[in-house]
């Protein structure tokens, strides 16, 4: 094992631990603000993992859409639906032993499936830049989903504006 791979592994474990810890905080933290900013850690570490997996376009898209878009939306929603003067907003959770047991069983099943993967794994050798392949694919093989998605986005835009606007009193 070369030094290069050891370094990659260290980066991988750093990112993975950040992601795990942050998602744990999202699940259990009792402070609303901390919860929202823990999600930031999850999103960034996942973006880093995409980078490590050579999905460079996904890396940029994750940060651009999730961090710059969705997370900001979520934080705005928290600000608009709470009395924000208080920093320590509580975020109740109704945990019970049943829930924990079910989630643990789910996790065990998923890990079992992951560990019993067949041995057909090989490294993906791309000779072209990924962005170019994605661009070509969007306009050839996955043209239909692309178009449907654009219509869906338009519908969401209009729907969100309609839902969030103030009621006009007749």
């Amino acid at each position: 094992m070369s030094l290069n791979e050891i370094l990659l592994n260290i980066i991988f474990y750093a990112l993975a631990l950040t992601g795990l810890f942050s998602s744990f905080m999202v699940a259990t933290s009792t402070n609303m603000v901390r919860t929202a900013f823990s999600l930031l850690g999850v999103l960034f570490s996942f973006a880093g993992l995409y980078g490590l997996l050579r999905a460079d376009f996904l890396f940029a898209a994750q940060i651009l859409v999730y961090v710059g878009g969705i997370l900001v939306l979520i934080i705005f929603a928290i600000m608009l639906t709470h009395k924000i003067a208080n920093v320590n907003l509580s975020n109740e959770s109704t945990s019970s032993s049943t829930v924990i047991a079910v989630v643990c069983i789910l996790f065990a099943v998923l890990v079992f499936i992951a560990l019993t993967l067949p041995e057909y794994i090989k490294i993906n050798q791309r000779n072209k830049p990924l962005t170019e392949m994605i661009g070509n694919n969007l306009l050839s093989d996955s043209l239909l989903p692309f178009e449907i998605l654009s219509v869906l986005l338009l519908a969401c835009l209009i729907g969100a504006v309609y839902l969030a606007r103030k009621e006009v009193k007749e």
């Binding site: 999202v26 999850v42 050579r54 996904l58 994750q62 859409v65 959770s93 829930v99 694919n137 986005l153």
Partner: protein, 107 residues
């Protein structure tokens, strides 16, 4: 499964399943609607990580996994915007966003 490997497939899968479980836990236990949305985002992210892992390590020539991940990200953006619009509407009508208190269809 190896702890130090060039192809950390299982490690990535276990990570994503852990995050998936945290997401499910968040969705089930939280009362606040915005927090539930965060749980959904966790689940979507873990699924994305799985898709990209398989795209990198299994799908040798194509980029189908990446394409699906892109569509998931776009759908997540759409879903988040609509969900937050609904949450804002609920807040305007009821004055609170705790899902266990929202038992009536009209105020």
């Amino acid at each position: 499964m190896l702890w130090f490997t060039k192809y950390p497939v299982e490690n990535l899968l276990i990570l994503s399943s852990a995050v998936f479980c945290f997401g499910i836990y968040t969705i089930v236990t939280r009362k606040n609607a915005v927090s539930i949305l965060m749980g959904v985002e966790l689940v979507l992210n873990s699924v994305n990580l799985n898709f990209i892992t398989f795209s990198q390590f299994v799908d040798n020539a194509g980029i189908s996994g990446n394409m699906v991940a892109i569509f998931v990200i776009v759908l997540a953006a759409a879903e988040a915007s609509v969900a937050l619009a609904i949450i804002l509407g609920i807040y305007q009508n009821f004055g609170r966003v705790d899902v266990d208190k929202l038992t009536s269809l009209r105020n």
